[in-house]
């Protein structure tokens, strides 16, 4: 194993900072009983918890992909160590062969042969046009016809392993003692009762939904990865890269777009929204004017202009970046900022309206009657009572932003072309769909992955809204 150099990309810093602040907020929530009660309601929602499990799986992939390093190149001893130009992540190391085992060009999922005919010279037989065997896909088989049986056997083995692992987990959860202080719980017959409570969905936390989702995830992922070593389970793209690998790499891009953008827009939206609603008058007029103007400029055009300008800046300063990954990373972050700057208006408008309502409430007037300063009223009385809207908006905006990235990359003004994202995958698929015979797997895989991510985010957002919205409670 060669030495390596840790590379810290700006987006990595933000991702880990976000994770840290997420944990920090979690601690704060645990100390505030009303918020804790609301999150308990989220925890009791089956759809919410199932989608949260899926989201956590995606988040895990994204986090693994956010630890970067460069491998040291073999050099002569005594020389200064040189590092490879390629920046790898922990995920790359884990999925190893997926990244390196590239075919020549398109191949269908689970194929053993290329998707395009090639002219092959055979000694004594002249040239022949046929589908050549893949270099890696199914190469361990002597006879390609044995592939289906081999796939079925591997998949079944992995599935059995998945079920076993899942059962172990269920046992763990069922034996978990809920509410140790609760006297109504019959302690003698605990394991049995734990099972029946789990089975009937009587647990406070929606464990049955989480476990069912976990079973589904395990049943999908384990066979997939067991097969991925020998086959290209989602096929390969034009340059022979494994589509599964691209999907895995796209997850981080989507997460960063969804999370960092909200981080950019949140302070602006909250501050301006509250200030406009609380102070009214010319401040309100100014802020309203600002977001009305911003809203009336076509969003895509504004983003396109900003992205193109930024592209020029990046292209004219190549000395800023040591690696291509750093350049692509900066472009990704810049895209987040641009999206953030154009998308704060919705939340701002929402918060302004709510503040207008809150400032007429009697507890605000009571504070005013004590001569409490305006900023203190905003911090102590208004902001905490707006948090439910902020949380709902954050979770709901996430899926919208993931989709926005796909659209922007499709138009060509999204992330750097060297960076894999759902958008660039779909953009590439444009040509593949026009090809004869059609190449469908790239698009289908990207579509399915994005669909699952966005659906999970939306379902989770619904659960959060149900739990936090005072009107629903």
């Amino acid at each position: 194993m060669n030495g390596f150099q840790i590379v810290v990309l700006w987006s990595d810093v933000l991702v880990w900072l976000l994770l840290a602040s997420g944990i920090g907020v979690g601690v704060l929530i645990a100390r505030s009983p009303p918020l804790l009660a609301a999150w308990r309601r989220v925890g009791a929602s089956r759809a919410g918890m199932a989608s949260a499990t899926v989201l956590l799986a995606f988040l895990g992939i994204g986090l693994l992909d956010s630890l970067h390093y460069r491998v040291a190149l073999d050099g002569k001893p005594g020389e200064k160590t040189q590092y490879a130009i390629e920046v790898l992540s922990l995920l790359d190391a884990l999925v190893g062969p997926l990244r390196t085992e590239n075919e020549k060009t398109y191949s269908a999922p689970f194929a053993t042969h290329l998707y395009a005919k090639e002219t092959i010279e055979r000694p004594g037989q002249g040239t022949l046009r046929e589908f050549p065997r893949l270099r890696f896909g199914g190469s361990h088989l002597a006879e390609p016809a044995a592939a289906p049986a081999d796939i079925a056997a591997t998949a079944a083995g992995a599935a059995a392993l998945a079920v076993l692992g899942w059962l172990a987990l269920v046992v763990l959860v069922a034996n978990r003692r809920e509410n140790p202080g609760d006297p109504t719980v019959d302690r003698q017959n605990w394991p049995k009762i734990g099972w029946s409570r789990l089975w009937r969905g009587e647990t406070v936390f929606a464990w049955n939904a989480v476990l069912l989702t976990l079973l589904l995830i395990l049943l999908t992922l384990l066979p997939l990865f067991a097969l991925a070593g020998d086959y290209h389970v989602f096929g390969t793209d034009k340059v022979g890269q494994d589509v599964l690998y691209q999907i895995l790499k796209s997850v981080r891009t989507a997460l960063i777009i969804g999370l960092v953008t909200t981080l950019v827009m949140l302070p602006v939206a909250v501050l301006l929204g509250i200030v406009a609603g609380y102070f009214r008058g010319w401040v309100d007029d100014l802020i309203q004017y600002l977001y009305t103007v911003l809203n009336s400029i076509p969003g895509v055009l504004l983003i396109a202009a900003a992205v193109l300008m930024m592209q020029v800046v990046i292209d004219t300063h190549p000395q800023w970046f040591a690696t291509a990954a750093e350049r692509a990373d900066l472009r990704l972050l810049a895209l987040c900022f641009i999206l953030g700057i154009t998308s704060w208006t919705g939340l701002c408008r929402l918060l302004r309206g709510e503040t207008l309502k809150l400032r007429e409430l009697e507890y605000i007037q009571a504070a005013q009657a004590f001569g409490v300063s305006s900023w203190r009223i905003i911090l102590r009385h208004i902001l905490p009572n707006l948090m439910h809207i902020v949380i709902i908006a954050l979770v709901m905006d996430f899926s919208g932003l993931v989709l926005a990235e796909a659209v922007l990359s499709y138009v060509g003004i999204g992330v750097d072309p060297t960076m894999t994202s759902f958008g660039t995958m779909i953009n590439n698929a444009r040509m593949e769909l026009g090809r004869e015979p059609v190449v469908w797997w790239s698009l289908a895989a990207a579509f399915a992955a994005m669909f699952i991510l966005v659906l999970a985010a939306n379902l989770f957002a619904d659960a959060v809204r149900d739990a936090f919205d005072p009107r629903a409670a």
């Binding site: 009983p33 009303p34 009697e362 507890y363 007037q365 009571a366 504070a367 009657a369 004590f370």
Partner: protein
């Protein structure tokens, strides 16, 4: 006609069903008014909804039967039930503002019922609608029929609601707090209308209310509900002369009245038990002054003590043996010192802006020249109907709304136009208690933090934690309440917290904006007692803003009556209440429903409703509704006339 037998209904909460109404039985005859009386949360509205089978999604009817003319309503299929709702039985709701659809004309909404239940369409339906509107006393029905609800006043909306309910010519009318959201003068109109219509049509009526005054005026038989059970059913005479159940007796004792001035009101200790934790024995046992060991063990049987008078109680006694309330003797005569607060010519005008440039096209004259004075340690009640500007006066005094003109002097310091620094000093002297205890406490702060807010903001100094603990004791809350959040407290307890918060900075004047109007009678008594005790102990003066005359009679030393932004009469409480000179005061006093048998005195009927403060009538503001208006009233606003050194009235008739 209507027989309700052993009706039980509950609300699903998770896997369990919490019983909100547990086995109530009553009957209503044709042409009879049966009143269901009870405090909030006792299940009276749920009962009405169950009769119509209009329970919210979580509601379940667990058992019992409801039969109208022998037909069991609870087993009817939903499709058949639709033929009954609106046709055989109709309902009037509490809030007229939200029970009409704002995007449909009045005619469409009445026509809907006519078409569904009477098969009337076109000209015939229109004829019938006009007829109905005339019956409910709406002037100019041809025009009103094509108007939208926002063009009608609150009282008129309620009249339209009644017209809709009558359109199907029902045999049973269910009125769920039909006048709670209305002013007393309008309430009197609506109650009279309901009584007249009922006699004309021979309808049965189920009246749901918490107001003993309304009951005395309307009901022939009364059922008292407590915690989901009927505890006493009696005829009107028996109910008001010999109430037998301790709860009924306590309700009467808790009413503030002029005869109880200077004494503490009787209160019912404790709270209604929660639905999830209903006691096995009598549900009132924990709060009952007559409690016996058997009460906690066994739920009492329903027994008849006299023909038509039944109750659910183990106690056999009859007379009210509530211990005589402790004498508070807080009416110590305070010598007339220089006023603590002097208000002179206070005006608050809100501009009405229109058009793109937001030009001011007019003003809402919310407060239009109010002058009053409060001496230390005394209570001035500011009385008036909704929209007369009394709350605006209270807020303008504390500079929460900047007055347009006039002067407010508090302890010799001018507040109008004062800078932030001077205002901060003044804020220690005057504080406010708000109407709605559910909106006046920040739900995200602990009670201790809420109370300490003023101490830190105004830098009162001293040990904040110790002060908070002392304040909590003073308002009768446990000391550990400071660690908890507002949602863990009941309405009355929340109002105590709000009072503690205001007292934290040791003010000399407390502006109380309808502090008891959102509370039940028994809780209202607790808060009034607390206010009286605090006044006796601390010598704090109150500006008591209210529309409730019973509270005024009980509490106030001085009274100012407001109408449309101006004070029309003010003086000592006994002068204004005993010898009112202004026709508006006289009408207000006569319109208040009195919770006694002999309450039906001579009533003065005021036509119409309070005009908009944006376009006050010329001359005396009251002349369009005044029964004694003269030509002079239409021309000139009357100057104040002194009836006695302390009693002034703005009326040409008194001049």
């Amino acid at each position: 006609m209507l027989h309700v037998k052993d009706l039980r209904l509950g609300f699903a909460a998770g896997q369990r069903t919490l019983l909100a109404v547990d086995g109530i039985s009553f009957t209503i005859e044709r042409g009879e008014t049966f009143a269901l009386l009870g405090e909030s949360g006792c299940g009276k509205s749920a009962t009405a909804q169950a009769l119509m089978r209009l329970l919210p999604p979580a509601g379940r009817i667990v058992g019992g039967s409801v039969s109208l003319d022998g037909e069991d309503l609870l087993v009817l299929p939903e499709a058949a039930m639709r033929g009954w709702r609106g046709r055989r039985m109709a309902m009037i709701f509490q809030e007229p503002a939200t029970s009409l659809n704002p995007v449909l004309t009045v005619g469409r909404q009445i026509g809907e019922v006519l078409e569904r239940h009477r098969g009337l369409r076109g000209a015939a339906a229109r004829e019938r609608m006009l007829d109905l509107l005339r019956q409910v006393g709406i002037a100019d029905p041809e025009r009103r029929l094509d108007e939208y609800p926002f063009q009608l006043s609150g009282g008129m909306k309620q009249r339209v609601m009644i017209a809709i309910a009558l359109a199907g010519e029902p045999e049973l009318l269910i009125a769920d707090e039909p006048t709670t959201a209305l002013d007393v003068t309008v309430q009197a109109q609506i109650l009279d209308l309901l009584a007249r219509l009922q006699v004309d049509r021979g309808m049965g009526m189920l009246l749901i209310t918490h107001d003993l005054g309304v009951v005395a005026r309307m009901a022939q038989r009364i059922g008292v509900m407590y915690a989901g059970e009927l505890v006493e059913v009696a005829s009107r005479e028996d109910f008001f002369t010999t109430p037998r159940h301790p709860y009924t007796q306590a309700l009467f004792a808790a009413l503030p009245e002029v005869s109880r001035r200077g004494t503490a009101l009787a209160t019912i200790p404790g709270q209604v038990p929660a639905l999830a934790a209903m006691p096995a024995g009598c549900r009132f046992a924990e709060r009952c002054p007559q409690v016996m060991p058997v009460c906690r063990e066994r739920s009492p049987e329903w027994r008849e003590v006299a023909p038509g008078h039944a109750l659910r109680c183990h106690w056999q006694g009859a007379a009210s043996v509530l211990e005589k309330a402790a004498d508070l003797t807080v009416d110590r005569q305070i010598e007339e010192k220089t006023g603590l607060l002097t208000v002179d010519g206070l005006k608050v005008h809100f501009p009405i802006r229109q058009g793109i440039l937001q030009r001011t096209v007019g003003h809402v004259f919310a407060v239009d020249g109010v002058s009053l004075a409060i001496a230390p340690g005394r209570t001035l009640a500011l009385v008036g109907e909704s929209g007369c500007g009394k709350t605006t006066v209270g807020k303008a005094l504390l500079q929460l709304i900047r007055p347009s003109a006039g002067s407010v002097r508090l302890g010799g310091r001018e507040l109008v136009g004062a800078g932030a620094r001077e205002l901060r000093a003044a804020r220690r002297q005057a504080q406010m208690v708000f109407q709605d205890p559910f909106a006046s406490l920040n739900p995200r702060l602990r009670v201790g933090e809420i109370i300490a807010e003023g101490i830190t903001a105004l830098g009162v100094g001293g040990d904040a934690t110790a002060t908070v603990a002392a304040l909590l004791r003073q308002v009768g809350l446990p000391t550990d309440a400071g660690e908890r959040f507002p949602h863990e407290f009941s309405g009355g307890q929340r109002q105590r917290i709000a009072i503690a918060r205001a007292l934290a900075v040791q003010p000399q004047l407390l502006v109380c904006d309808e502090p008891t109007s959102a509370l039940d009678v028994s809780v209202q008594a607790q808060i009034l007692n607390l206010l009286k005790t605090l006044q006796a102990e601390l010598g704090v003066a109150y500006l008591f803003i209210t529309h409730n005359f019973a509270v005024v009679e009980y509490l106030a030393h001085d009274i100012a009556v407001m109408y449309l932004g101006r004070i029309v009469e003010q003086g000592r409480a006994e002068e204004v209440l005993g010898r009112p000179r202004h026709p508006y005061t006289q009408a207000l006093l006569s319109a208040v429903p009195v919770p006694r048998l002999d309450g039906a005195g001579q009533r003065i009927h005021l036509p119409g409703e309070t005009p908009s403060p944006a376009k006050p009538p010329a001359g005396c503001h009251f002349h369009p509704r005044c029964p004694q208006a003269t030509a002079l009233c239409r021309e000139r606003y009357p100057a104040p006339t002194a009836v006695s050194p302390t009693h002034t009235v703005n009326c040409h008739l008194a001049a």
